[in-house]
Each structure stands twice: as structure tokens, then as C-alpha cells.
Symmetry: C2
Subunit: 267 residues, 2 copies
């Protein structure tokens, strides 16, 4: 890990990601300079937490040679990037799906600091290691960004815009979709008159098993057993919801194709 | 919890579920009498662990008034149930999808002891609380089964055969399918040149968030944000696999239908 150099960091945005990054930078010993948000009370709230100042107008941010982090929704990030000139600051956005070049022509040094985590509360647990994906248009910018990132997380990856988009897509499969399948499980359990809580040990065990053995090896269930009698029973039970039936079929078919070839198990 | 009464328990089968149940019964203070398996070395291995005897022929199991637990694959369970007479024992199977009545006419007291857990190794961690679903054809059988189940787990649920089938279906959504989505995420991450490990913090956080807040409230991602620009980008990226594209579409459509009605967020 590179030597620590204290940076001056300002934030455009005061939501979950801005709050997480500002708190971590502040804890690591960086100086948080200015916070702007469309909602001034949010800017003020974050500024107080990290001993910074807040401002009402975006052009009040005086960020000469500082690091400026834009942490907003995708559309707002694009709007801000395209309608401002960021002078001599290293300007970063935090979005999974916006190319770095959104800043092209608006700054000399720019880049991306994308935390690969679903940050749903305004405070992450201290010491939770969030992977940070970084990218910059210059070598010096990348070096500076890497130092900053490594000062707040041990998991820092250099990722191109193209690959960041893939990572974001994979995160939808790893996080958003499993969560929705839990919701479906809860709804079916409810039909059986039992609370979703009955699945807690199973879900925790499955997750840890996938993470330790790797999900391909850890696959269980009727599809990987090629148990067509059970699959037929399940599809019949799902007649109450064509959508759930469709989800069941599409995943089951894909598991079978992945693990079986012409009746022979291949994984 | 009911008073502890030591039972004499025998096992047909010596795989993961038989081993788990036999070890737990033994630890709880029950006497394990006999173990049979189609593979004698497996029967012997389990018998040694729980201070029991093993036998080569199924009819050597002398189980008068004992509890006999059949823990085999679905088809083997059905075959054994239909081709034997279980006399005065309380005979149980452990399958999620087989009705209790498979024993009808072959025993007076019968039932089901279904552990709602993906037991993939031969030993579960001590004190992991596995939910046990129980069912019996008589009140006295149910009482006896409940005592046994409560002696090895604090999570005991009385569940009918019909509802057990629903629970098993829900477990596929809660466990087998999320595991497969992790495998897809790993494959996409691989395309981006990063290891699956990068998702570990995200997956753990998502799982715990779903379990503590409930998955409906915890839903994040482009579908629940109704972010059609990102969804379009993701579908384009998935052109390399019609199957993954199909899974992405079916889940995304269902999330949108659940959370949005005529453009208005409803959850």
C-alpha cells in the first residue's frame, strides 16, 4: 500500500454513497472541504458529520487542485458532468454504468471511484471492506486515486469503463435478483402458512456455501439433479403466477443446460 | 418444550440427511439402534459414529416400537415405503416432496420429518438451528415426533404434506436459484477480468439486509428504480447468452410488475 498523503476532498451529493465515502475519507485522515446537495439540509447534515462546510450553489465549491467526488443518480451525474468545468481538480463520479469519458473536455484529470456495494443506509459498518473500482484518464490521476482508495479500503481494483458496466450487470445477478427470489420464496411460504423466517438458516448456509466452495460446485436442487418429476410438480404449483412460472422455467432450463449435456452430467 | 423421553431410533439410509439426523439424535441422548444402507460401508461408517449396529439386509432391522427414519432419494424412499411392512414402529421419511400417505397401509403410525436445510456435508456445525417440519397420521405419532424433533432443534413446525410441497418449492427460490445467479455473476465478472470474490461483501450484505428488513423492502437495482436506460444496456451486454438474457428479462419484468402499477410505485 502506498504512503498516506492527506487530500482535500469535496462532494457533490449527500446521499448514501457520498455519505459513505465522505465518512471513510474523513476517518482515514483526509480533509473534507465542501459538500453541495440539491437539498441543502442533506448537505448540512453530511458537512457536520465530517467537519466540512456546505454550500447552496454548486459554483461555490472552490476545489482548486482538490479531489471532487460526484455521487448522484445516473442522470444527475451526467447533467452535472456535462454542464460544468472542473478546472484543475481531479473530478470523479461513483456510478457503475456511466463511462469515464462523460468528463472529457470538462477537466484535465478525471476518473471513477465506484464502490461495489449496495449502500442502502447512510452509514456502513466501520471496517466493512467495500471493493472500490477505480479508473482515470491520466497516470498521475490514477496514482492519486489509487492512494485515496487504498486509504479507505484494502480491496481496490483498476477497472475500465467497459468492464465496470459488466461488473454492474453481474452485481444485478449477485444481489438484486437473489433478493427478489427471496421475496418470491416469502410469498410462497406465506401460502403454506409459515413465516419467511423459516428460511433464514437455509439462506445463510446457501450463501456461505456458494462463497466458500464457489457457486458452480455448490449447486443443489431438482434442476441439477435432473429431477423432472419434481420440476413438473413445481411448475404445476406455480400456476397461480405465470411470471413466477416463467422465472422458474428460465433458471431451471439454464441450470440443466449448464450442468447436463445429452443426459450426461458435465459439471 | 416437552419433557425429554429417550427413543430408540433406526435409520434406512446413511447419506447426508441420515447422518445429520442420527448425529443430532445421538447427541440429544437417544439410542441409535440400527443403520441400513444399500452401500454397507456407508452404513458401517455411520453406525460407528453413533454407537449403533449396522445390517446388510433391510429386514434385519428389528424396530418394534422404535422410530424408523427413511432418509434416501425420493425414488428410493417411495420404493422402500411401498414394498415393506413397518409393523409397530413409527416410520418417517425426510423428503420435501413426497406425501405422508406413501406409508398408508404399510404402518399404523407414520409421518414425515423434513429438515428445511440444504445438508451438503455429512456433518452440520453443532448448534446450527435447522428448521424441522413434522407431520403424522395420528395424534400420538405427532406427539412422539414433536418430542423427538424438539430434542434436536428449537425450530419445529407442524406442516401438512400439501404445504410441505410449497415449502420445498419456496426453498428452490430461496436457495438453489440464488446460488445459480451467483454462478452467472461469476461468469460475467470473469469476462470483466475480476474474480468472483469481489462480490463477497456485496452478497453477504444483500443477504443480511434481506433477512433483517424483509426482501420486499430491501429491493434495490435498476428494475425497482424503473431505470429503463440501464436495463436496455444490460440486455445488450447479455447478447452473448440468450438464456441469461431470458432470466434477466423474466425477473426484471416481475420486479417491475410487483413494485410499479401504471407508472406509480406501489411498494
Amino acid at each position: 500500500m502506498a504512503e498516506f498523503i492527506s487530500e482535500s476532498v469535496s462532494f457533490i451529493g449527500a446521499g448514501n454513497i457520498a455519505t459513505y465515502l465522505a465518512m471513510e475519507c474523513y476517518r482515514a485522515g483526509h480533509q473534507i472541504n465542501m459538500v453541495w446537495s440539491r437539498t441543502p439540509t442533506n448537505a448540512k447534515e453530511l458537512a457536520v458529520k465530517v467537519n466540512a462546510r456546505w454550500c447552496k450553489e454548486i459554483n461555490e465549491i472552490n476545489c482548486d487542485n482538490c479531489i471532487l467526488i460526484i455521487a448522484l443518480t445516473d442522470q444527475a451525474t451526467i447533467d452535472i458532468a456535462k454542464n460544468n468545468d472542473f478546472g484543475r481538480s481531479l473530478v470523479l463520479h461513483t456510478a457503475g454504468s456511466i463511462p469515464m469519458d462523460v468528463f472529457s473536455g470538462h477537466s484535465e484529470d478525471y476518473g471513477v471511484l465506484y464502490p461495489l456495494q449496495s449502500i442502502s443506509g447512510k452509514e456502513m459498518p466501520v471496517n466493512s471492506d467495500v471493493p472500490l473500482c477505480i479508473e482515470s484518464n491520466t497516470e498521475s490521476g490514477l496514482e492519486r486515486l489509487r492512494r485515496l482508495a487504498e486509504s479507505i479500503s484494502p480491496l481496490v481494483y483498476e477497472i475500465s469503463s467497459e468492464n465496470r458496466l459488466l461488473l454492474h450487470l453481474a452485481a444485478v445477478f449477485a444481489c438484486n435478483f437473489p433478493n427478489y427470489l427471496y421475496a418470491i420464496a416469502g410469498e410462497i411460504a406465506d401460502k403454506a402458512g409459515v413465516p419467511f423466517e423459516i428460511y433464514k438458516p437455509l439462506i445463510r448456509e446457501t450463501t456461505e456455501n456458494a462463497l466458500s466452495r464457489g457457486p458452480l460446485k455448490a449447486q443443489t436442487g431438482p434442476a441439477v439433479r435432473n429431477d423432472r418429476i419434481i420440476i413438473k410438480k413445481h411448475l404445476d404449483l406455480l400456476s397461480f403466477s405465470p411470471e413466477y412460472r416463467n422465472i422458474y422455467s428460465s433458471i431451471t432450463r439454464s441450470i440443466m443446460d449448464k450442468h447436463w449435456l445429452a443426459g450426461k452430467k458435465i459439471i
